[in-house]
Amino acid sequence: MGTTKKSIIMILVLIMAFAPLALFAGGRSEAADAERHAFIFKNTGNPYGEKQMEGFAEGIREQGFEEILRAPDQPTAEAQIQIIEQLMAQRVKSISITGNDFDALQPALTRAMDQGITVLSADSAVNPASRQVHVNQADSEMIGRTLIQAAYDMADGAGEIAILSATSQASNQNLWIEWMQKELAENPSKYADLELVRIAYGDDLRDKSVSETEGLLQSFPDLKVIIAPTTVGIAAAGRVITDRGLIGEVHVTGLGLPSEMAEYIENGACPYMFLWNPIDVGYLTAYAATALMNGDITGAAGDTFSAGRLGNFEVVPAGDGGTEILLGAPFKFEPSNIDEWKDVY
């Protein structure tokens, strides 16, 4: 084998190695004159994120603009910073981002704002200094309190409950868990017999979430309810409960995708669970981005704007010191409606 042939093969292999990156991360070549609005999701290949981007694209196109949808391979802040820098070079009008980290994106996003780009976060917030406004699916407080009330209902008011979260760093989940704990602490008489025994972290990985669920079941044989406020976690918990024939003894609830949870809602492992409509989150973000850019709103509490088919929204103070726009109450998925939603997302 000659060295030239060898090096040609080498080059081919390297091209192969990086081809998918170009394919999936590469921006399309857009006409330079159209106003472009960018949306950055946490990572590629997440159906929930796909739906959010779909909604964003719909909202942007409806207003006659062009959308750029980007997501890194891995859910890290570093990867998102690279994308932000590329978008700044492309001179987009606005950047909407689902943050992989609350604080780490601040330098990059502040630079973008200094350049005159409108910056807002959607779904998973970045800190108030790095954004003009945050578009939230539903009030974090409402989610946290609703999930504890659901657990109370499923446990018939008494027993051990546990939480199965994503990573211990996930800002969304941590905020919801904080509100769950507050709901428990603020109503001591109502929840006197309900005991939160552990918060486990499945890291949004199937195998780890299954191991953590099994660990919960082994450590707490009297466990009544598992609350999993994360897509992979709740499906993994539903799977374990189904496999082990514990339907009816241990209940699963939380936040999950209807498609992933359809089987477990139908078989009773999960009596009901919640989620908002990710398409609407993306759609609302699109209108918030253009309203900010046009100066219709500044991101201050009390500003109001109209978001196409969703109607009017108001900017309200957020729990983290900044401001946010709330989509609405979380939607309840239960045996009676899961059938019509499982094919949607």
């Binding site: 390297l14 081809a19 998918p20 990572n43 590629t44 997440n46 499906a235 539903g238 799977r239 359809a262």
Partner: protein, 329 residues
């Protein structure tokens, strides 16, 4: 004499690992008495079966001085192709689904085999390239969507949840893989030749062993096992997603190293591999049970691997020194 020495060293090393495992198991049991309960041991083995199957293939690759970084992607790809097929044809018999996934994985392995064996591409580069190619293909065939539980037939999910003779199917399949591998490695000419290629490629070449053909073979076997693991993974978790098993190859390689497989080739035994895999299974199963902070879990895993490798080095050095001493007399 030398051969007996090596066997002795390996026995000693594996005994060391076994003692280490017992110590850890006792420590865990003291913190949470649920650990050694039968139901927990059953889920421990069930959760470790896929890792064990992959470790067999990886050992063969490592023995030839190679490495395969693409198997996480192959698992996702074969799992996704199988899940999509099952979703489209609910009547597909489970055995056909297993065959399909294994063939898809084997095809990926054969491409790597050609790159490494025919074109002399370094295994780390060839498999790094294929890792991205195959992961990309997974997103292409799925369109970024997941295949969920309700789209899969019960018979398909039964591959992972069903029982044969009272034992979970995953464990049964893993045992079958180990038995076949034991026969292949110890009792076939090809199996022995794989080790010859790994311990001394030049000598193997001179003595007429078809080195390239064997290297092609080990990557094909690895691919086939990764494909099989993909089907089992999807059936077990009842969901196929594009980012399934990202970086899982690192865990498999770590399990091999823990089991005494040498990354420089030529050395690796199934008994050690079994211990290494189960050690990993114990860690994954027990860390949630002993309620350590999630921040510590990764660090603990790393420390255990390092400690095992260190013991490995020390036992080996010790017995080499003893051998030298005997020769001097």
């Amino acid at each position: 004499m030398a051969k007996r020495n090596i066997v002795l060293t390996e026995n000693l090393r594996e005994l060391g690992l076994l003692i280490f495992m017992v110590v850890i198991a006792v420590a865990i049991q003291l913190r949470n008495p649920a650990f050694l309960r039968l139901s927990n041991l059953n889920s421990l083995l069930t959760n470790t079966a896929i890792l064990g199957i992959l470790a067999v293939g990886m050992m063969l690759v490592l023995v030839t001085r190679g490495i395969d970084l693409s198997i996480g992607s192959t698992i996702a790809f074969s799992g996704m192709v199988t899940a999509l097929t099952v979703a489209g044809n609910p009547g597909l018999p489970p055995i056909a689904a297993i065959a399909l996934g294994t063939l898809v994985g084997m095809a990926v392995g054969m491409v790597i085999g050609v790159l490494v064996a025919r074109f002399d591409v370094l295994p780390i580069i060839a498999t790094l390239g294929m890792m991205n190619v195959v992961r990309g293909l997974t997103y292409v065939v799925s369109g970024g969507r997941w295949v969920s539980s309700y789209q899969m037939s019960n018979s398909f999910k039964g591959i992972a949840t069903g029982r044969t003779l009272g034992i979970n199917n995953l464990i049964v399949i893993a045992i079958a893989v180990y038995l076949v591998a034991a026969w292949f490695i110890n009792h076939t000419r090809t199996g022995r030749q794989i080790y010859a290629v790994g311990s001394n490629p030049e000598a193997a070449g001179i003595s007429g062993i078809p080195r390239r053909r064997l290297i092609f073979l080990v990557y094909s076997i690895m691919g086939g096992l990764a494909g099989l693991a993909g089907v089992l993974w999807v059936a077990k978790f009842a969901s196929a997603q594009g980012d399934t098993a990202v970086a899982y190859e690192l865990q498999v390689i770590a399990a091999c190293i823990l089991g005494g497989v040498s990354i420089t080739g030529g050395v690796g035994r199934l008994t050690g591999l079994l211990l290494g895999t189960i050690m990993f299974g114990i860690l994954a199963n027990a860390l949630p049970l002993i309620n350590v902070s999630p921040f510590w879990q990764m660090a603990i895993q790393g420390v255990v691997v390092l400690a095992a490798v260190l013991t490995n080095v020390m036992v080996r050095r010790n017995s080499e020194r003893n051998a030298l001493r005997r020769r001097a007399i």
